[in-house]
């Protein structure tokens, strides 16, 4: 199935997966951080590599990337990207006084961030699984803090022979506790392999 030839109904399906996934993510984040987290309407777009990098603020934007692989009925990758401020907020909420700064990513911060990545990825993967009844497993997240262009090039290179299109979901979260309200945005890249994308569509009764 070709990403470039998707019709508006098929794109709506992806949008709906994005909406449900983002809702799940807000709920999970709220539990994980023990504070209320609200979410705006997510944006769901089909973009190519260069557009993704621009949407992240340019190739040299410093970001934290968490990469997970999708296995079982659906194969592909999912990547969670967040700015340092988001990582900082999540770690300080999680670790309290134990946490100093995110400038040096030590083992504890890295593993806490991997857990955040796991929760975020699972939110979207569960949205797909619930809608389609397909079984999807996710791998342990692998983490990297570097330039956005270098991080996003990893799935772009891996899937270069298949497609250069990526499902790009932008989320705006608001952490709203008694002390302060703060806005954080994050991005999810979903790259199901093309026959897995077909499976998602057909299991929803959509002709391809």
């Amino acid at each position: 199935m070709d990403y470039e030839k998707m019709d508006s109904l098929q794109i709506d399906v992806l949008r709906e997966i994005g909406n449900i996934g983002s809702g799940n993510a807000a709920t999970s984040l709220s539990e994980f951080l023990s504070c209320p987290v609200n979410i705006g309407v997510p944006s769901v777009q089909i973009l190519d590599y260069d557009q993704v990098v621009e949407a992240l603020g340019g190739p040299e934007t410093m970001m934290v990337g968490l990469l997970l692989q999708l296995e079982d009925d659906i194969k592909g990758m999912i990547m969670f990207l967040l700015h340092k401020e988001f990582a900082h907020m999540a770690l300080s909420a999680l670790m309290g006084d134990m946490y100093n700064s995110f400038d040096e990513m030590d083992e504890i911060s890295a593993s806490a961030m991997q857990e955040v990545g796991n929760i975020m990825a699972a939110s979207y993967v569960n949205a797909i699984a619930d809608m389609t009844g397909l079984s999807i497993n996710i791998s342990v997240p692998s983490i990297c803090m570097d330039m956005a262009g270098a991080i996003v090039s990893v799935p772009a290179v891996y899937y270069a022979d298949i497609s250069d299109k990526i499902i790009f979901i932008g989320d705006d979260f608001v952490r709203d506790d008694s002390h302060h309200a703060a806005n954080f945005n994050s991005h999810i890249l979903m790259i199901p392999e093309s026959d897995s994308l077909e499976k998602i569509m057909t299991s929803l009764g959509i002709e391809i």
């Binding site: 590599y49 260069d50 990098v53 340019g58 190739p59 040299e60 410093m62 990337g65 990469l67 692989q69 791998s139 342990v140 692998s142 983490i143 990297c144 803090m145 570097d146 330039m147 956005a148 262009g149 270098a150 991080i151 090039s153 990893v154 772009a156 290179v157 891996y158 270069a160 022979d161």
Partner: protein, 162 residues
Amino acid sequence: MSKTVTVGISDLNVVKAPDTLVTYALGSCVGICMYDPVTKVAGLSHIMLPSSSLTGSDPKQAMRFANTAIPMLLKKMESAGAQRPRIKAKIAGGAQMFSSTGNSAISNIGQRNIAAVKQALATLRIPIIADDTGKNYGRTLYLTAEDGVMRIKSVNRGEWTY
């Protein structure tokens, strides 16, 4: 006035002094700088993948692979006046951005790119005089046509030159 020309991913370009070439955020991709110091013709290629067995003539595809992009860059430099015996190369990139993905095809791609670039340059008998490849961080690469200096910039480790 000198200008800076950006080379995108799976792209290549050639400039003359006093211009500069730049390619941003190399991850597992490799940037190949080639330079003729006499005519001050500089070329830069940003490859994504090691090699293509495809024999098609689509130039957009050719710029993606080490084994097709490097000969293409050489040809473009020669048309701009560079002489092959004087051309030397400097290479950077090929990092492993994510460790332990459990997928060796992802972990090894940087190393495979580096090997393919070295092979392609050896085939053309272009010596590599600087090599800043591997490791685990992203690199932005500048090549100034005035002096052939390759400058590397990283977000976590600062800047340095070759």
